[in-house]
């Protein structure tokens, strides 16, 4: 319609000064017709009071050429998902224009519209249709999808009997067989185990080599760097930087170094169990010199300091935590009790316990703590599930220059590889001969 979008025939996406406003508080206020009527009757001429306005996107403009693979990065709540939703026509911009040419498929979630009661096969058809595939197209690709998902023998079983992993694989199998001109993907890669993630990344790579335009949001910097030809960093609803992935990621990561986020405040956490006589108040990451650590990397030496507040003397408490991956896999469960440390009495007031880690052998990912304090008198003093976050960043752990990312698993071990001298000698002899 508007000619300025047609300047470039190879242009896949044009975003022009897009803004999206959310009015906070309006939802709770208006959801009841009853209340709306009452407020209209009681004060018909009063202007509704000013509500909190949140600009999820503010004057965002960019263009994407056909065949580009663009990664979108930024903190939670930066507006990334809103941008994807605006591009997918799920939500509409308050102002500005969006133009996407060609067939568009958006994958904001794996297995959208899956129904528990339906079988795997039925869900494939339903999900395919929801994602915009024609019936014949799904039928033609069914075998390939089933193979990808590895659910052949459960194909006619209702998916309520499926494990979470099977469901994910089934959902991604359908998605991987989409054949759009423009593909929009939200953090779907952040779910599933490492093997599954690798499969997904391979599928994405396949799309790229197929000349498709891909826009994807990820917290997995390694994936963005490996897959994307371009990266856009969004913060507070605005484009902060748009350019080569390596540079944009570096600039983005640097902001973490400047941010004072080394301390997770737990004082205001309401969702916790226990007697409350002693409570965790915060988790702090420190380097071995006791200075706050801005970025935690694989292989770092660090101190994790757990702050607490006791309202009265606490005899024989045990401090402990469980560490989980983002997907809820328990990585480790440890405590002062496991180490047979007896603490006869914790006096009232503030204090802390330190956990010294010489070599953090966690691979880059986001981890969560579930913290607990138990005692003798009352079994649980404090228990908070999934509270403090531990963001582990990439690093050169093997000093080989090859970075390990979350696709390599959850942990790595200090290790050495030995290849038999004879083999190496033999091989060098052979190459010399040829």
């Amino acid at each position: 319609m508007s000619s300025r979008f047609d300047e470039n025939m190879s242009q896949a996406i044009a975003v022009e000064k897009v803004s999206k406003k959310f009015v906070l508080g309006a939802l709770q206020r208006d959801t009841m017709l009853r209340e709306r009527l009452i407020s209209m009757l009681s004060a018909p001429f009063r202007r509704r009071s000013a509500l909190n306005v949140l600009w999820a996107l503010r004057d965002v403009s960019f263009r994407v050429d056909a065949g580009e693979v663009v990664g979108i990065i930024g903190r939670n709540g930066a507006g990334k998902s809103t941008l994807l939703k605006v591009l997918s026509k799920i939500t509409y911009p308050t102002s500005g224009e969006v133009h996407v040419s060609g067939r568009i498929a958006s994958l904001l979630e794996v297995g959208t519209g899956f129904h528990e009661e339906l079988t795997g096969r039925e869900n494939i058809y339903l999900n395919g249709s929801i994602l915009g595939m024609k019936h014949g197209e799904v039928a033609a690709k069914l075998d390939s999808m089933v193979e990808f998902a590895g659910v052949a023998q459960f194909l006619d079983t209702p998916i309520k009997r499926y494990s979470t992993g099977m469901r994910l694989r089934l959902g991604f199998a359908v998605a991987a067989h989409l054949d759009p001109d423009v593909l929009i993907v939200d953090e779907v890669l952040a779910v599933g185990d490492a093997g599954f993630q690798r499969k997904c990344l391979n599928a994405m790579d396949g799309l790229r080599s197929g000349g498709r335009t891909v826009l994807f949001v990820s917290h997995n910097m390694a994936a963005v760097e490996n897959l994307c030809s371009r990266c856009i960093w969004i913060d507070a609803g605005k484009v902060v930087m748009d350019g080569a992935p390596r540079e944009v990621i570096e600039a983005y990561m640097n902001t973490f170094a400047n941010a004072r986020e080394a301390m997770a405040d737990l004082r205001s956490v309401k969702d916790r169990r226990g007697s409350g006589e002693i409570r965790y108040t915060g988790v702090e990451y420190l380097n071995t010199a006791g200075e706050p650590l801005q970025v935690v990397r694989s292989g770092d030496s660090l101190i994790i300091r757990f702050h607490y507040h006791a309202s009265k003397p606490i005899p024989f408490p045990s401090f402990g935590f469980r560490l989980y991956t983002e997907f809820g896999t328990l990585v480790t469960d440890t405590s002062t009790w496991h180490h047979a440390i007896d603490i006869p009495l914790v006096p009232p007031g503030d204090g802390y316990v330190d956990l010294h880690i010489d070599f953090l052998n966690l691979l880059p990912a986001r981890y969560y703590f579930s913290l607990w304090i138990t005692g003798t008198a009352s079994p649980v003093h404090d228990n908070i599930e999934y509270c403090a976050q531990l963001e582990v960043e990439l690093s050169n752990v093997y000093s080989s220059g090859r970075m390990l990312d979350s696709r390599s698993g959850i942990v790595f071990f200090p290790q050495r590889w030995k290849v038999n001298e004879a083999v190496l000698a033999d091989a060098s002899g052979k190459t010399e001969e040829t």
Binding site: L27, M32, R34, T112, G113, L118, E122, S129, K134, H135
Partner: protein, 261 residues
């Protein structure tokens, strides 16, 4: 209203079919009695109506056995009322779809309107058996039945669009719905024939398009000979108006569905 809304709807017709298919599948898979619910519900209502209104209150029934008279109206009425209550919630109960995928939102109430027809077909089969049992033969006017059915489908779709869209914004619509359906039952000639009413009440009832469609449905099925065309005409006009209002209201509100649902 631009034509894009309609072309989009047409382009996604396959999804409409799949959503309706899902509704049907899920409904029958979860229920122990499966498809028989489609017959049991109007059948039990018919038994109760026959006892209280046919036997005790001696409500006239146009010379047709009362059980058949009421069942004939209860089958389309059950379709209509179930559709309203389910379609009214269709957007809210599919919020996970609305916030994750683009498709014409009107497909959701439309799918409910469609899927209910399966129940309607089962009920109709039972109705045919009853007609055989009571030896009531349909006459020449039988070919008008699809017209009245079509009217009811359009009416159900129009009202569903309004209710579904309102329900996204105002969640208490959900509580008002059963009440609305209940009142609607009594102002529709299901228990009684329209001829039972005084002319004044009749005029009042004409504003209910279901009255025209149901009365027409029954007259054409049993060929009672007194088709009230003015009543039917009013029903058609009011349904058209409701369809325009429903589509306009839906279209104006659907852009914000994903933000508030």
């Amino acid at each position: 209203m631009n034509s894009e809304w309609f072309t989009d709807f047409w382009r996604y017709r396959e999804l409409l079919y799949f959503l309706a298919w899902r509704d049907v599948k899920v409904r029958y898979k979860q229920a122990a009695l499966g498809a028989s619910w489609a017959v049991i519900q109007p059948l039990l209502t018919m038994v109760i109506f026959t006892l209280f209104f046919g036997r005790l209150a001696r409500v006239p029934s146009d010379g047709i056995p009362y059980p058949l008279f009421s069942f004939c109206a209860l089958v389309p009425w059950t379709y209509f009322s179930t559709t309203l209550s389910q379609a009214g919630n269709s957007l809210v109960s599919n919020s996970s779809l609305i916030t994750k995928v683009y498709f014409p939102r009107a497909l959701l109430p439309a799918a409910t309107v469609l899927s209910g027809l399966v129940d309607f077909a089962m009920g109709s089969t039972f109705l045919a058996l009853m007609m055989i049992y009571y030896r009531v033969k349909p006459g020449w006017s039988f070919f008008l039945v699809p017209f009245f059915l079509g009217g009811m489908i359009l009416l159900a779709f129009s009202v569903s669009m309004i209710l579904a869209a309102m329900n996204v914004r105002y969640r208490d619509v959900k509580y008002a719905l059963p009440f609305l359906v209940q009142i609607w039952l009594f102002v529709t000639p299901i228990i009684y024939p329209i001829a039972f009413l005084t002319p004044k009440m009749k005029r009042f009832l004409a504003f209910n398009p279901m009255a025209g469609f149901l009365e027409g449905f029954r007259s054409s099925l049993f060929n009672t000979g007194h088709m009230d065309w003015s009543l039917v005409g009013t029903a058609v006009i009011i349904t058209t108006i409701l369809l325009v209002i429903g589509a306009t209201y839906f279209r104006r509100t659907e852009r914000s569905f994903a933000d508030i649902v």
